[in-house]
């Protein structure tokens, strides 16, 4: 079926031939794998395969509603794969299978959907996972914004790995994997409402391989979170509160592109709360910190990894930052959306 310059109509979600043709032409042709091919109502996964890889299943779900759909460094499809892969990976799991649900606004160009699907396949290949089940719904114009995607992922956690937000212990070190805020600033610029341009691109990327090298270097990593919407400040606050500990970080050690610092300065935004889509924060035992850091820096997605702080033996539960100026400030979770300051 030729799909050039055609648009999605309500018929594509009605369950009949139009829907079947769309799934065949857009999704099946791109996602193709033995689990998906039969187009049954469910994917069937071999238990023995799973248990051979680990002793616990990790399961996670995330929905993606990014505007615009395509932005420098990524698109909603790549984001939908990487986001869920990363949520599995930072739990110490090897991501294996994903399902995806599409909610499509009537009128979306089919070519757009094809671009997104192709990008999802490429990201899935990079992450080493298979898209094994899916769903498509079409809603009336105005009931959704172009395209929403939900992905649900399954991974397997090898024995002996216990990565959880509540595990931070006094003396542990804090590591971040990459520059902060690239995604947040790239998206702001791509929306075109703020009238500034940047060469920054989103850091949207799968982190499973980086996490693999970290766990190889030290299986006793305590806690990891991928840094998404709330930024580093929110993620570290969550870990501090889950562990009931005080975390102190050093502003001077934060890996930041100068463009991000400048844009945040100009726009009145705090870099600690800028979104990332391909960076993680990890709490690691002190004696393994240098080893883990070195392993990360050898991986292309960890080249800018840095030791930024430590878990303290005492102090108010939460996060404190030593400023470059020698002072100290507390870092609380982001409340609502970050709003620019007036002057």
């Amino acid at each position: 079926m030729s799909t050039a310059k055609q648009t999605i109509s309500l018929a594509h979600g009605a369950g009949g031939k139009a829907m079947h043709d769309l799934i065949e032409a857009v999704f099946l042709s791109r996602f193709d794998n033995p689990h998906l091919r039969p187009l049954d109502d469910q994917a069937k996964l071999n238990l023995a395969d799973l248990t051979a890889r680990g002793d616990r299943l990790a399961l996670t779900t995330d929905s993606f509603v990014v505007d615009p759909l395509f932005f420098p460094g990524g698109d909603i499809g790549r984001l939908a794969i990487c986001g869920t892969v990363n949520d599995l990976a930072v739990g110490g799991a090897r991501p294996l299978y994903l399902t995806c649900g599409f909610i499509i606004e009537e009128g979306l160009e089919i070519a757009t959907l094809e671009r997104v699907a192709a990008s999802m396949r490429a990201a899935a290949d990079e992450a080493g996972i298979a898209i094994v089940a899916g769903d498509t719904k079409v809603v009336e114009r105005g009931s959704a914004d172009k395209l929403f995607i939900n992905t649900t992922g399954i991974g397997v956690i090898p024995p002996g790995i216990d990565v959880a937000a509540g595990n931070a212990r006094p003396g542990d070190r804090v590591i971040v994997s990459g520059p902060l805020g690239d995604h947040g600033i790239a998206i702001l610029a791509a929306r075109g409402k703020l009238d500034f341009e940047t060469t920054l691109v989103s850091d949207c990327r799968p982190l499973h391989a980086l996490v693999g090298t970290m766990l190889d270097a030290c299986p006793a990593i305590r806690a990891m979170r991928d840094i998404t919407r709330g930024g580093l400040g929110t993620v570290l606050s969550e870990i501090a509160h889950a562990s009931g500990r005080a975390i102190e970080i050093d502003e001077a050690a934060l890996p930041l592109h100068p463009e991000v610092r400048s844009a945040a300065e100009l726009l009145g935004l705090d870099v600690l709360y800028l979104a990332c889509e391909g960076a993680l924060a990890a709490i690691v035992p002190a004696d393994a910190a240098e080893r883990i850091l070195a392993a990360m820096q050898r991986h292309p997605y960890g080249r800018n990894a840095a030791l930024i702080g430590e878990v303290r033996a005492a102090g108010r539960i939460g996060v404190t930052m030593r400023t470059t100026f020698g002072g100290r400030r507390s870092v609380d979770p982001l409340i609502g959306e970050q709003l620019p300051r007036i002057c």
């Binding site: 400023t323 470059t324 100290r328 400030r329």
Partner: protein
């Protein structure tokens, strides 16, 4: 970031802090009372907390966070009026981001937006004018607020709209002026402020001269300051030197951008478009004479208050709020009974918890670091 990092150099900070420490014993003061220095501007408050400056200062200096946060001092009745305008189906309301969360008596613009009002964040009133050009079938209203810092840009946008004949653009004007407010503050009977770190951005527009009365009548040191941490430390040192010498003068630390006479073009635009209101209500401080401006008759068609009916009801601040006492330096934010309990950035009761420039929100957000 060239030209910014230089003003955040820890080495230079240490030198300034050393000088501040050395001068303290040379200043005559009552031993049981710290020197109270007010930074007037919310931007300064933000810097002070963001860099943890208070913890770096020697004992005996207390920074009092002044009324210069335009979002914080906006009374609830005005927010209600703005929400009423925003909820009109033909209106696109354009606003600076930090005004979104300011609570009125019946919710904020953020809530109005969630309920269907078309509210958009802009970085400049010119962006609002561009919205008006792009949507000729809608009424675009800019929520004009701020001190003399933002007054000229709103004025120039109105002049631009008039020149182009844009018919669907207007301003809900809440601009306020700093000098009468400082005067009202200085008239407070129990006020114990020893000196001022004066506003920087406002002074770019009005210059340093209008503050002359503070030196002449009230004999208090007043140093116009920039916004980087080194600016603030240097300004503080300049205030302390005046106190040591028994001087009460207007000085300009921010001379790299502030001219003593201000910016003539900006002042001309202000003069052309606005006139003083006899009174304007301030959240936490009450009504202050000649402290607000409104749009002149000649530009009445750009005045949202004349264009749309507004409820214009005065809403009293909650009894428990002591924002006014904090603004005057009579109490510290944490001495207010509701601070951090009933009143947090998530559910602000009082004005000062609303914007990150407000003394309470800044303290809540940045200031609770462990002292060690």
């Amino acid at each position: 970031m060239k030209f910014i990092d230089e003003f955040r150099d820890p080495e230079k900070a240490r030198a300034l802090l050393g000088a501040i420490e050395r001068i303290m014993p040379e200043i005559e003061r009552q031993p049981d009372r710290p020197l109270q220095i007010m930074e007037v501007c919310g931007g300064h408050t933000h810097t002070i907390y963001r860099y943890g400056l208070e913890q770096l200062l020697p004992p005996g200096i207390e920074l009092v966070h002044g009324p210069g946060c335009p979002v914080c001092v906006l009374p609830m009745g005005r927010v209600d009026d703005c929400v009423a305008i925003a909820k009109r189906p033909e209106v696109i309301l354009a606003t600076f981001g930090d005004a979104m969360r300011v609570p009125g008596s019946r919710g904020s613009l953020l809530q109005a937006k969630a309920e269907g009002a078309d509210v958009r964040v802009v970085y400049s009133p010119l962006d609002a004018l561009a919205l008006a050009r792009a949507h000729p079938d809608r009424e675009v209203v800019f929520f004009g607020l701020g001190f003399e810092t933002t007054m000229p840009s709103t004025a120039l946008t109105i002049l631009q709209a008039a020149a182009e004949g844009v018919a669907n653009f207007s301003v809900f004007c809440n601009h306020i002026t700093i000098v009468p407010t400082l005067q009202a503050l200085l008239e407070t009977p129990d006020l114990a402020l020893d000196g001022f770190i004066g506003p920087g951005h406002v002074s770019i527009v009005i210059g340093a001269e209008p503050y002359g009365f503070i030196a002449e009548e009230y004999k208090r040191p007043f140093v116009v300051s920039g916004f980087e941490p080194l600016d603030i430390l240097q300004s503080l040192l300049m205030v302390l030197r005046q106190l040591r010498d028994g001087r009460g003068e207007i000085e300009n630390q921010y001379s790299r951008v502030v001219a003593d006479a201000g910016n003539a073009a900006a002042l001309a635009a202000i003069e052309r478009v606005y006139e003083l209101r006899p009174h304007f209500e301030w959240r936490g401080l009450g009504s202050i004479e000649n402290s607000g401006v409104q749009i002149r008759e000649a530009y009445a068609r750009f005045d949202a208050e004349r264009r749309f009916p507004v409820p214009a009801l005065r809403v009293v601040d909650p009894d428990v709020c002591r924002c006014g006492d904090v603004l005057k330096g009579l109490i510290r934010p944490q001495q207010c009974a509701v601070f951090g309990r009933a009143c947090t950035p998530e559910t602000p009761l009082g004005a000062l918890m609303v914007s990150s420039e407000g003394a309470c929100a800044a303290l809540y957000q940045y200031g609770r670091a462990d002292p060690t």
